[in-house]
């Protein structure tokens, strides 16, 4: 990290008298919120300023080609240094932004070594002066309290051109985890939870011999866990010789679990345990940051710049409308970097069915980051098993009484990606213009939940939080086998799973869920906005994904005419 301190170090002067407004820093939810007046002027504001990626159009094209079988760039993933050299911000970008902040009274200014972002802090008056805005407290109609800017920030043009946005100017989007505790289940574990052996049998994972050996799997977390829980789980379910998770602490996080009913400790714990249940030999990397705007973004940037893990899972998110467009655009650039580096990112789709914002249960909403186009959104099902725990069927997970269910719906932000073209229909209530989620799904119903060992005791949990790490660990198994045959990692999986999921292999590799609704969107034959392409038949999907030849993608633009000759 490079730091900027005293004014005497400043060599660059900003003499512009014009200014550029930075758009879209106010979350949509602010519009209906009541302005409660100025925040405490003594409040310290921590900002994270992501610097602008260069050649973004070329980056999108590169990612597309990296994931087309047969293309000269197929599987030619970048290293972080290659990414920085071609697309990354420059040291001059970082220096200019740091010096502007220093001139305006910010302190503790730190630039990321790869120039991805600049961190700084200041009290409210300095922030307001530097960015030409005021910070006020707000209350949403549902009672949510948060602070945010009265108007869009403004900076000199020579700064505006170097940055993607400014993180830390509002507190509307505190991220929630998607784990739900249950009291009963259908498995053979304590309280009926599904043990590793149970759900490995049900989904055919028991037929996959890969163990994740040699692979690293990253878990995005905003809380801590107790290693003793992980050890107890491994002992209880006979997961032999697992590697201890490696903790990577970000933005000053201590690693100690928070206390209380809102603690994310169960989330972190079950993520680790379920990943190890699928890939017992994988090295789990637990990235942990404080649950703040800056902590959230900094952690994603760390996972990208480290590029240690090719399979990444998050079970933390927030409804799209609680994020500003600038927040979402910044995240998108990070996920594009990860895609270009061949990192697969899976995100829980949320546990509130089609209504992801818990404060607005009558408004259709989807969860970020699952709705990001370079992320794979994992929805929720209710699993039924036969005697012996073999697979029977699945329906959409939903519970109207508790207003819970697998997340899914239509993004209000992201346009439809090419791999979803034609999948939105009148039957599934989908879109022809916008990104749809989830992409895939897995058992998430707390009533058919998973055995875990949390906070010193056996327990049962459900939620799409369980589905995301299982899919991620499965991807680590696929990567292990592909590397063994000198194939590139599967990488950003959406183009691939939609290619496979619409091919003649689909009926054998996916369990197409066709019954139920996620409180709004119905399950239908083929793709739907309740369960995506469906859950996996692990062995057959594994075989399809380790094959050097993937099924072809459908041709388009069929035209024709009758002729006589």
């Amino acid at each position: 990290m490079r730091t900027w301190g005293s004014l005497s170090q400043i060599t660059l002067l900003f003499i512009s008298i014009s200014a550029s407004a930075l758009p879209a820093h106010r979350p949509p939810r602010m519009a209906a919120s009541k302005d409660l007046g100025h925040v405490d002027p003594g409040m310290s504001v921590h900002v994270l300023i992501p610097l602008a990626v260069h050649n973004a159009d070329q980056l999108a094209n590169l990612i597309t080609r990296q994931h087309i079988p047969g293309d000269a760039l197929y599987g030619e993933f970048l290293t972080p240094s290659e990414f920085s050299a071609t697309f990354g911000p420059t040291p001059d970008d970082a220096a200019a932004v740091a010096q502007y902040l220093s001139l305006n009274g910010f302190t503790n200014i730190v630039a990321d070594p790869s120039n991805a972002y600049v961190l700084a802090e200041a009290e409210v008056p300095q922030v307001e002066h530097a960015l030409s805005l005021e910070l006020h407290n707000y209350q949403t109609p549902e009672g949510l309290m948060a602070y945010g800017p009265t108007n869009e920030p403004t900076v000199p043009p020579e700064i505006a051109s170097r940055i993607q946005g400014i993180y830390g100017l509002h507190s509307f989007s505190q991220h929630r985890h998607h784990a739900l505790r249950a009291n009963a289940g259908i498995g053979s574990g304590p309280q009926g939870g599904l043990t590793p052996a149970d759900f490995r049998t049900a989904y055919g994972l028991d037929k996959v011999t890969a163990t994740g050996k040699g692979q690293k799997l990253a878990l995005f977390e905003l809380d801590g866990y107790a290693l003793s829980d992980i050890t107890a789980y491994a002992t209880q379910f006979n997961l032999r010789a697992i590697l201890s998770p490696m903790n990577i602490l970000v933005d000053g996080f201590s690693g100690k679990p928070t206390k209380g009913t809102a603690s994310g400790q169960p989330e972190v714990t079950l993520d680790i345990e379920l990943a190890l249940a699928v890939a017992p030999a994988v090295q789990v990397l637990v990235y942990e940051a404080p649950n703040t705007e800056a902590g959230y973004l900094q952690e994603w940037m760390k996972i990208a710049s480290d590029n240690l893990a090719k399979a990444v899972s998050t079970s933390w998110g927030a409804a799209e409308d609680l994020n500003s467009a600038a927040d979402l655009a910044t995240e998108n650039m990070i996920f594009m970097q990860m895609a270009a580096q061949g990192q697969s990112v899976f995100a829980a789709a949320g546990d509130d069915g089609a209504y992801d914002d818990p404060n607005m249960m009558k408004t259709l909403e989807v969860d970020d980051p699952g709705s990001q186009p370079y992320v794979t959104s994992v929805g929720g099902t209710t699993l039924a098993v036969n005697a012996g725990l073999s697979y029977k069927n699945e329906t959409v997970w939903s519970d109207a009484a508790s207003v819970s269910g697998g997340g899914g719906g239509i993004s209000s932000v992201w346009p439809i990606p090419s791999w979803q073209t034609g999948l939105g229909t009148a039957l599934n209530l989908g879109s022809t213009t916008q990104r749809m989620v989830p992409d895939i799904s897995l058992n998430s119903d707390p009533n058919t939940g998973y055995s875990v060992f949390v906070q010193g005791a056996s327990d049962v949990y459900g939620g799409t939080s369980c589905a995301a790490p299982i899919w991620t660990a499965f991807t680590a198994l696929v990567n292990q086998q592909r590397e063994a045959t000198n194939l590139p990692d599967v990488g950003y999986v959406n183009p691939t799973i939609y290619r496979v999921g619409q091919s003649s292999l689909a009926p054998s590799v996916f369990h197409d869920v066709t019954a139920g609704k996620n409180l709004f969107y119905p399950a239908e034959t083929n793709y739907d906005l309740a369960t995506g392409l469906g859950s996996f038949n692990a062995m057959t999907l594994f075989q399809a994904l380790i094959n050097a030849v993937l099924p072809p993608a459908a041709p388009t633009q069929l035209k024709g005419q009758r002729v006589v000759n």
Binding site: S503, P552, A553, A554, Q557, N565
Partner: protein, 129 residues
């Protein structure tokens, strides 16, 4: 022979078939002759009128280079499709096929294939009579 070919084209253009540039690609039918006695004298026979062949000319855009070829399927009711032609060219962007029922609506769809499987179909193309 060149003279004969030209004559044929002129005759065809004079018939009910619309005359177009594509006619130049037609190959002439074998000359018919009433001479069955082994006379190899140089009389030029007039070809019998031919029945125009109804066809369907198709174009499509391959998604990428991941296929070995394409299947063209047709249907007279838009529901039950049968394979009309395999196009074993991974770079093909179209095909011309016989029109099975020129006087009726007809439906066409295309998909790609390779050793791993079959792609989804294109959107169905509807052809009017």
């Amino acid at each position: 022979m060149a003279f004969f070919r030209l004559s044929f084209i002129v005759l065809l253009c004079g018939a009910s078939v619309a005359c177009s540039k594509s006619n130049t690609t037609l190959t002439a039918p074998a000359p018919t002759t009433s001479n069955t006695g082994g006379n190899s004298g140089g009389t030029t026979a007039t070809p019998a009128p031919t029945t125009p062949t109804p066809k369907i000319s198709l174009t499509w855009k391959p998604a990428d280079a991941g296929q070995d070829g394409f299947d063209v399927e047709g249907s007279s009711d838009g529901t039950t499709f049968t394979l009309l032609q395999k196009v074993a060219d991974p770079a093909a962007t179209g095909a011309t096929i016989a029109d099975p029922s020129p006087s009726q609506k007809y439906y066409i769809r295309v998909r790609a294939y390779n050793s791993a499987g079959l792609s989804a179909f294109t959107a169905v193309l509807q052809l009017e009579p």
